[in-house]
Each structure stands twice: as C-alpha cells, then as structure tokens.
C-alpha cells in the first residue's frame, strides 16, 4: 500500500469537492462531502492512511465548505444538511469481524438454544396479537425468546405497549419472571424478543407464559434438544482487505436489487475502486475489481459506468461472477418470480466461534414483506455495524443462503440491536425471499480465514401447531 499516494488521492478528492463550492454548485459540493468521507473511511479500513489523518482531511474539507457556503451569508450552516461524520468510530478498527467486541460479562460463557415453535395469543381491549415463540436463547447472563407477532392493529402498537408488556412467566416451582418485550415493529408485523428476567436457573424444565388476565398460557419445554444442523468449517478466501471492501460494495448493489430496497452506497463504487487502486491496495488485475465491474455491467448500475468502461477496454480483468451472485441476478432477471414462503420456522443453531464471534440462528419468519432470519450474537462489534461507508457490517462478511431448490439468497442486515455486554440481536433479510416448499438451507457464514457451512433442515410451523 502506498500511503503517500493514498493521502494525495484523498486530498485531491477533497479539493474536487471544494471546487464545486467555488464554482457556485453548493448542492454538488455538499453531496460530494459524504463521498470524500466514504473514500477516507475506505482508505483507512485497508490501512492506506492513518484514521486520524483521514479524519483531519475530511474535517478540513467540511470547514472549508462551511467557510464558503455558510459563513457571513446569513444562511444556516450548510453542513447541517450533511450526514454527520462518524469516521472516527469507523476508523477505530478494521472491519468488524476482524475486531470482535469483547465484553467481560458473557464472553467466556456459552450460548444455548432451544427450539420452541408455539403460538401465544394475546388479547386486550385494543388489539389481538398472534405471537409465534420461535426459540429460546440462553447465555450466562440472560434468557430470551425470539418471537414473531402479527397484530390486528397497525402502528403505533408495538412490543413496547400492552398487551405485550403484560405477559409474565412462571416456572415449575411457581417462580414468577418478568417478560420484557422489544423488537422491530411496523404495520402490525413484529420481529422481536421476549427477555425473561431474572434468568431462569439452569435445569429449569419449562416455563409457562401468561398473558394479561392469566386465562390462557403456553408451556415451553426448555429441555428440547437443539436442532439437527450440520456445521462444517472450510478455509476462507485469502484475506484481502481492499478486495473485501469492493466485494462489500458489490453486496450493496446486489441487496438493492430487491424492489423497495435501495443500495446504500452503490453510487460510491467507482470512487472506492479508484481510490483503493490509487493507493496500491488493489493489485493490477485484481479479481475483486473485475467482479465489481462485471456486476455493474450486469445490473447497469450507472455509478459503475467508469468501472465498466475500464472493464471493456481491458484495464480491469474480466472475471466470472461467483455463482451465488449469478443466482441472485438470474432471479431478478426473471419476468415472474416463484411464490414466496409464508410462515415461521424455529431454529436453534449455535455456530462455532468465528473470529471471536458466536452466532446463533433462532428462526425464520416469512411473510408478505419477505423472509427474515433472526440471529443472536456474542462478540459482534456494536459501534461500527454501520460505518462511514454506510455499509452495514454484514457486507464486509456477507452471509449467503442456498435453499433446497438451489436458489441463493444474500442476507442483508435489517436491524441490529446491542443488548449490553457483548450480546446483540439482529434480523437479516434474505434477498430474494425464500420460495415455497423449501425444506433445507445451507448457510455460509464467512470469517477472516475460515468460513462456516451450516446445513439446516427446516420445519415450517403452521398456526394450528401451536397455541392453546
């Protein structure tokens, strides 16, 4: 990596942004600032520039723009319109899985999972909710259930409101537990968690959930064996931070193919590739550049026009796109898509530690809004799950899911919530959604040097399987 060229590149890019302000193009100048910040973060991420120096350069650009566009002109500060910089947070370390968060409380403990797959029906004077209790997660410090709920009322009713907040639990000894619900709620659909407080002692055979009024309950067997997933560890691709970054940009483009979802930073592809190459972080003939350019060519991404031009004149090598990418592209190239799966599938798959992170797959929720995979994690970094590149954490280490029909799905980060200590819960959206009749999944979870291949048989729960 040529650090001098990297810094020069970043500074010249900053000058190009300022030039827009000097040429009376304030909107263009302000729109350019996030690009400069993204390139700064990218160069810092691959070790081409010191994070502090990158932050100083982008800070100088921000100040220079402020002086031209706001100062002395009686205008509100223009930079208030620009997303704030969290470059410092991003640049504090390399991409997430390379720097796992280590909390003392639970790090050394084990994660256990129990499949549940039962429905709890909640009713009060305002609404009715069908709550699928998918699985239980236990760490040394906590116990919580993955749930998927559908209410008969649209927002603003959510898990933080009754009747969800009036549930309590009782164990075989008659001990009572508070149930704290939380999660993501939109338009009557909820994916979330029921946290059990205090944590039931090890050996507790079952818990009963009582909604408000205590008229109906479900008993959850805590001794049910975990699922029968098969996990294999395989050698990962050689570590290549710049290549990983370009692949992350490609994941952003792929994830944005789904209707209704937009690529977060697909417009940055050309800037990122050029900056990394200028810094010497991408070797000549880099297959990652070829993959990204090829993807831009296939998708017609206007932001990648420059890359495509370089591909067409042979400056960037033409490479075959990875099979999972092609699978997703082929799906979205079809005129008609197969009917999507509806329902829930409890999972209780604890993965081996990967780069210091433990993942636990807790359930699949498939509805009209798509297919979501509920996951818990120990050790996942919290601060930079969304970095200055506006790339979610998972784009750096993309998860792929191959279903029993052979279709591949990219897992996009839908939500991530830090629960304190080193525990997180997250929801991944599968792109495209799972089709009907899927009976088995193969989940690829990449790490820095090793990737996990997890084969999971699926059992889709139907409403009549559960509630009482």
């Amino acid at each position: 990596v040529d650090t001098e060229r990297a810094e020069t590149w970043l500074r010249l890019m900053a000058e190009a942004g300022l030039r827009r302000a000097l040429q009376s193009e304030p909107d263009a100048a302000l729109a350019y600032l996030p690009r400069v910040r993204a390139v700064a973060a990218a160069l810092a991420a691959v070790g081409a520039i010191e994070p502090e120096r990158a932050a100083a350069i982008t800070g100088d650009l921000a100040a220079a723009l402020e002086l031209r566009l706001g100062a002395g002109r009686g205008k509100p500060p223009p930079l208030a319109q620009v997303p704030p910089a969290s470059l410092v947070a991003f640049a504090a370390g390399p991409p997430p899985s390379l720097a796992p968060r280590r909390g003392p409380a639970e790090r050394s403990g084990e994660m256990h999972a129990v499949p549940v797959g039962q429905m709890l029906v909640l009713r009060d004077e305002y609404m009715t909710a069908d709550v699928w209790v998918l699985s239980l997660v236990r760490t040394p410090g906590r116990a919580l259930f993955t749930v998927s709920a559908r209410t008969n009322a649209a927002s603003p009713f959510g898990l933080h409101l009754p009747p969800f907040t009036r549930i309590h639990a009782v164990d075989h000894r008659g001990n009572s537990y508070r149930v704290r619900p939380y999660g993501r709620h939109a338009m009557g659909e909820t994916i979330g968690w029921l946290s059990i407080q205090p944590r039931p002692p090890t050996g507790t055979p079952w818990l009963e959930f009582y909604p408000a009024g205590g008229k109906s309950c479900i008993r959850v067997d805590l001794a049910t064996p975990a699922g029968t997933a098969r996990v294999a560890a395989e050698p990962g691709a050689p570590d290549d931070p710049a290549g990983r970054l370009l692949d992350a940009a490609a994941m952003d483009l792929l994830g944005g193919l789904e209707p209704g979802h937009h690529a977060g930073h697909g417009h940055l592809t050309g800037y990122l590739a050029a900056a990394l190459a200028a810094a010497g972080a991408l070797p000549p003939g880099s297959p990652a550049a070829g993959r990204l350019a090829g993807l831009c060519q296939r998708t017609g991404a206007t932001a990648g026009r420059r890359l495509v031009a370089a591909l067409e004149v042979g400056i960037i090598p033409a490479v075959e796109l990875p099979a999972p990418w092609t699978s997703v592209l082929t799906y979205f190239g079809r005129r008609h898509w197969p009917p999507a799966q509806q329902g829930v599938a409890p999972l209780a798959v604890v993965l081996p530690e990967l780069d210091g992170i433990r993942f636990l797959l807790t359930g699949l929720i498939a509805d009209a809004d798509g297919t979501r995979l509920s996951v818990a994690a120990l050790g996942l970094p919290h601060s930079d799950h969304h970095d200055e590149l506006t790339m979610p954490w998972i784009h750096w280490f993309p998860w792929w899911v191959k279903d029993s029909s052979g279709q591949c799905h990219l897992a996009e980060l839908d939500s991530l919530r830090a629960e304190g200590g080193d525990f997180s819960v997250l929801v991944l959206r599968l792109v495209p959604p799972l089709p009907r009749s899927v009976t088995r999944l193969e989940v690829i979870v990449p790490g820095k040097a090793v990737r996990l291949r997890v084969t999971i048989p699926l059992s889709w729960a139907q409403p009549q399987d559960g509630g009482q």
Partner: protein
C-alpha cells in the same frame, strides 16, 4: 531588466514577495483604530513601533493589544499547511467570515459547556462545524476529531482568514515560501500530499480555463529538482497518466455520468523552486494568466513590474515576458487578492 529584483544575478531568484504590492487594513486595537500593513513579506504594525517588546510584556502579564496579538498569530501560522487547506484558492474565492463571527465562535466554546454568554443554537452549531467538531450519533455529543487542528489553532486560522482576501493570499504565499527552502526537504517529503493538493487545486483553477479544460482534468505534483518544473499534456485520454485506471477515478468524480473526458490531461510537475515560484510569486500575485499566457515563474520583479516565464499555448515553448500591473494606482490589489496584469510593450 533594470529595476527588477533578481534580474541579472545568475542563479538568484527575486524575493517571493517582489510581485506583490503592500496591503493595509484597519482593525480595532483597544479603543483606537490602527492600521496593520503587509509589505515585503512581513506583517508590520505602524502604530506599534516596538511590537516585539509589547508582545513580551503581554506574555509576562502586561496589557495585550489586538494588533500585537494578531501579529503573533500571523507569525505562529506562517508555515501552517492547514492555512492552504482552508484558505483562498484564488482571488475570487470569497471566504465570508468576519471577526464578529469569530468572536461568536470563541464565545460558543464556553457556551457549549453551558456557560458564558448566550448564543443561538445556530451560532453554536456553526462554531462547532467550522472549528472542525463533529456530531456523533453514537454518543449524541459533539466531539473534536482526533488529529485535527486543535480548536484554538483553528480559531486563529479563522481570525487570519477574516482579514480578507488580500491578506489571505499573502499569508498563503508566506506559507508556500516557508515550505520551499532547501533545508525543509525532509519536511516536504513528509507532507508532500498536502503540498501537492495545495498546488494542484490552485493550479487547476488558474490554468483550466487557459487550457480549455475542466479543472478536474488538471493535476500537479511536487518534485525535488532544479528549475520551476514542467507541464505535460496527455491528449489521449484513455491512456494518459491521470486517466488510466486507477487515476482516472478522480475524473469519475468530475464526470460522474460521462465517459472519458475530452481534451486529455494536463499535469503540472513542480520542482521545489516551483512551489515558491508559482504558488508564492505567480498565484498569490494574481499573475497566473496574463493576456492569454500561462505564467509559470517570475524571473524578476518589483511591483508593479515583473519579468515572467510564460506559455502562449499548450505544447509551446516558454517565453520571457515583461508585464505590468494594469492599474497600480487603483488600489484593487490591496483590497483583493491579486493585481490585474498586462503585457508591457
């Protein structure tokens, strides 16, 4: 050429300020209005003939006055590269900040700590952004980025920039000259990216229109060698040094929706002497383009006259020109960043 500093003395360059006229402005100093004056590369205080002694007394606890404080700030930043990052790119580059605003910024340092004089939220936000602080959505607080210019240093820079374009251009020239000395070769090497960007941005704005190119098609680089440097024009866009992948990515920013830019690339390769010769002597004096000639270096000068090395067009050979300030009596040079020049004779 008679009467021009540097002429006729082999190997000797004129002082870097030789093509710059004096500049003056009044500031409030205590209860009075005092003139501060820039001339011959120095900031001087006519109302304070022994400014050095006043500074020492002030440092020892005596009264401080605005004039001497300002001179001290100027001296502290005479080689501050941040000035080139924040300061003017051309005489037309208006940096609209006033001393009243600086005062607000200074006050808001304490206002941020919920003490001191009341200022509006806008003032505070403004102050924080201009001083380089950033809002962290993670902590919900404003914080200074590590490694950035310290807040007090940034405020001092803003104070200097609030003096207006004439002083801003001269201070930028001062910084460029300070970095061009033979003794600072190691410093230059360590700070080549910042120096390159300072040169390239100003060169691109000045020479772009002359070359018939967008500013994004001009680059510059800094080298250690004799002379002022050279210009290289690459007409074949797709294979030129700046357009070929990876460097062409910068043009991707300049031409986000277009293919390869027309017209190729112009690369200014500046030698150490060129840093001083072009940035301090040519650019700061407003000599960049005179009647269709791109001025590359000043060979001799005593304002309002100069002997310059200039190009008539791309691919041509540099020629020596005699130039003069168009209207030295009008005083525009003192108010704005540079003079208007014309070819003499």
């Amino acid at each position: 050429v008679t009467g021009l500093d540097g002429a006729g003395q082999a190997g000797q360059q004129p002082p870097w300020w030789a093509a710059l006229p004096p500049a003056e402005m009044e500031i409030t100093c205590g209860q009075a209005r005092h003139t501060i004056r820039w001339a011959d590369g120095e900031l001087v205080l006519p109302a304070h003939p022994d400014a050095e002694a006043e500074l020492i007394l002030g440092a020892l606890g005596g009264d401080k006055c605005e004039c001497t404080e300002l001179a001290a700030v100027w001296r502290r930043h005479h080689d501050d590269l941040a000035l080139l990052a924040l300061g003017p790119r051309s005489a037309a580059d208006e940096i609209g900040i006033t001393w009243d605003e600086i005062s607000t910024v200074s006050s808001s340092k304490w206002a941020f700590g919920l003490q001191g004089p009341a200022v509006s939220a806008r003032d505070v936000r403004r102050a924080l952004t201009t001083t380089g602080l950033a809002y962290s959505p993670l902590t919900g607080q404003w914080a200074a980025p590590p490694g950035g210019v310290p807040e007090s240093g940034r405020l001092e820079l803003l104070t200097l920039l609030a003096l207006g374009p004439a002083f801003g251009m001269r201070l930028a020239a001062t910084v460029a000259a300070a970095w061009s000395g033979a003794a600072r070769a190691a410093d230059r090497a360590a700070n080549r990216p910042a120096l390159t960007a300072a040169l390239a941005s100003r060169f691109a704005l000045a020479a772009g229109a002359w070359a018939g190119m967008e500013a994004g098609q001009l680059t510059a680089s800094l080298h250690e060698g004799p002379g002022w440097g050279s210009l290289e024009h690459t007409g074949q866009a797709a294979s030129g040094p700046a357009s070929s992948y990876p460097e062409g990515g910068l043009a991707n920013g300049a031409y986000p929706d277009a293919g390869w830019p027309e017209g190729g690339w112009l690369d200014g390769k500046f030698q150490r002497g060129g840093l001083r010769a072009w940035l301090a002597q040519v650019w700061a004096a407003g000599l960049t383009v005179v009647e269709g000639h791109l001025v590359l270096a000043v060979q001799a000068a005593r304002w309002p006259a100069a002997e310059v090395l200039a190009l008539r067009g791309l691919g041509g050979t540099p020629v020596t020109l005699q130039v003069r300030a168009a209207d030295p009596a009008a005083g525009d040079a003192a108010r704005s960043g540079g003079s208007r020049w014309q070819v003499a004779g």
